[in-house]
Subunit: 349 residues, 2 copies
């Protein structure tokens, strides 16, 4: 067997990653030894954190080394098992990365029940992005009924969940997104109270009007101009869970190199002090202790129809690089997934 | 009686305040009516927050209006009482402001017992600066034994207390101050583990060497270059209680007017995220609920000799403006007080 494929990191991108940094190449399908499984990737999750792993420096996790397969969460089918507890045909949540096939010794795998929920949800609303939204909003944002919550990247994998959980907490929710259809989606389909397009020329004014009682929780996914527009609207004792800063992910080098220009920081810290704000960075992998609570609550919200989600599915591993570029530019609509192989749950058995 | 004096705010300073903004003028000593007290100011506390009150815009408190007496905490002697519960000769903690005499209806006064502690401590270690240190470090910084705590303005009214409380919690404490004698003071007299002078050309390198296991809590009093030097040293899950930013207090206008220059903010927020930092602004007046705990603990630490403090006393209301300028420039040594009138507790009765 040699008809596998994988995508390697072959160079550290300075700005937007492309095929010169992420090279698709054929791969011999590996053979599992004793105690091993052969996995076939069905779905690959594409997520903003991956951009950080392409840089040479460690941020909170080790970077991907040059010549290695890009990392990523996947839903895989077991196609050959030499490990007790797993059988061919099992579907598992795995971290097989950007490739069609992988070996596993079972570490970190979670079996999925396709009858309980579509297996793709294990990479989205019932998975890492969902837990990120849940922990970031509830534990770090601590929203109270009647408060105003603003969420950026509102139509994205995390943002769409944040806003809906905030609504379930009795909050007023304002989304920020970068396209009219995204704004319409979060208001009309997901029940946000308002949404503002950050590409509008009078964005800051519109945001201010949409938040006329100020902002109590800002769920920060993007940084840049959106952060700067929300900050002055923060109420006393506001909370800013810092989940992501996607506006800056392609600019790390130039951000680091710039000199001077203290004014925005000075202004930010001035408001942190005067308004007694809390800015707290968080990373979902520190919060595994909340997984059971999350799965229980989210499962209930999904079953009862109180929470909805959208997925954006692209076809084929060869589409992964272009889709990832789109993610960094906000072209996706909802949780971005690559269908790497056929989904056995969608086929006649 | 017309031999009183007061200092009015007569103009909003753009940079350093001086006598053109803060005018000393004679004042007729007021006469107390029914239910009123006449107070004579013995000590006036000078504190960095006062600079913010001289600006026209509201920050967290209302600004002082032009033509009004500058506000400030004071220790006063009751010299005439028409109010039950107070008698001539009583010493009280008051907010009489920058003047020799004031009327009061008793609101917010606290009687002081000169036998329990020197009355000046009510403006310092046992007062607002002490409570600021206590709440900011313990409630917002949450130091754990063995952690490294860095405190800026280390020899000042708040910083000297922060470092000593941190030592009592079993932490390693590094002070940052702006003069060799201040650095020597906090190490030799107060027991800090190290101190670094931020005016040294290789300050950032020395600070890094003094904190070779990184920084878990940074008690932020100053902003500017000190903040920028500490931030990269922060350990994962570090906490930054934001108490003050004295380096910027004279520059509000230029900070607001500056455009662009996002780099320092971007870098800061990047570290907030990646290292899961918590930056939290706080203001002592929100924490009156901790006053009893504070007075109990601080009283015990002072009586047992576990905690020491230094006061910097200048003579006469006419010295207040110059002393306040010195405070903004770091020329004071310890808690800055103006002796406005004679202290009856230091005289033969």
């Amino acid at each position: 067997m040699s008809d596998g494929k994988r995508i390697l990191l072959t160079a550290h991108p300075e700005g937007m990653p492309d095929e010169t940094h992420l090279r698709l190449e054929p791969m011999a399908i590996p053979r599992p030894g004793p105690g091993e499984l052969l996995l076939r990737t069905v779905y690959l999750s594409l997520d903003p954190y991956m951009r950080g792993r392409m840089n040479p420096a460690k941020s909170y996790a080790q970077p991907v080394k040059l010549g290695e397969t890009m990392v990523g969460g996947t839903v895989c089918e077991v196609i050959e098992s030499h490990l007790d507890g797993f059988a061919a045909g099992d579907l598992v949540l795995a971290a097989a990365g950007w490739q069609t096939h992988a070996l596993s010794d079972g570490t970190g795998l979670r079996k999925l029940d396709p009858r309980a929920a579509p297996v793709t949800t294990a990479l989205g609303v019932m998975g890492m992005p969902g837990l990120t939204a849940y922990v970031g909003l509830l534990d770090h944002g601590r929203p109270k009924p009647g408060e105003t919550v603003v969420v950026s990247a509102a139509a994205g994998a995390v943002g769409q969940i944040v806003g809906q959980i905030a609504k379930l907490q009795g909050c007023r929710v304002v989304g920020v997104a970068g396209a009219p259809d995204k704004c319409a989606y979060v208001v009309e389909e997901l029940g946000f109270d308002a949404a503002v397009n950050y590409r509008d020329v009078d964005f800051a004014k519109r945001l201010s009007q949409a938040c006329d009682g100020g902002v109590d929780v800002y769920f920060e996914n993007v940084g840049g101009a959106v952060f700067n527009a929300v900050l002055p609207l923060m109420n006393d004792f506001g909370r800013i869970p810092v989940c992501g800063r996607i506006a800056h992910y392609n600019n790390a080098a130039s951000d680091k190199g710039a000199e001077g220009g203290a004014s925005e920081l000075v202004r930010t810290m001035g408001l942190v002090l005067v308004r007694r704000l809390t800015l707290r960075g968080f990373i979902v992998s520190d919060h595994a202790d909340r997984l059971d609570d999350f799965l229980r609550d989210m499962g209930e919200w999904l079953r009862s129809g109180q929470l909805r989600y959208r997925e954006d599915l692209v076809q084929g591993l060869e589409s992964a690089v272009g889709a990832f570029q789109g993610l960094l530019e906000g072209r996706n609509r909802g949780k971005l997934l690559v269908q790497v192989g056929t989904d056995p749950t969608l086929q006649p058995a």
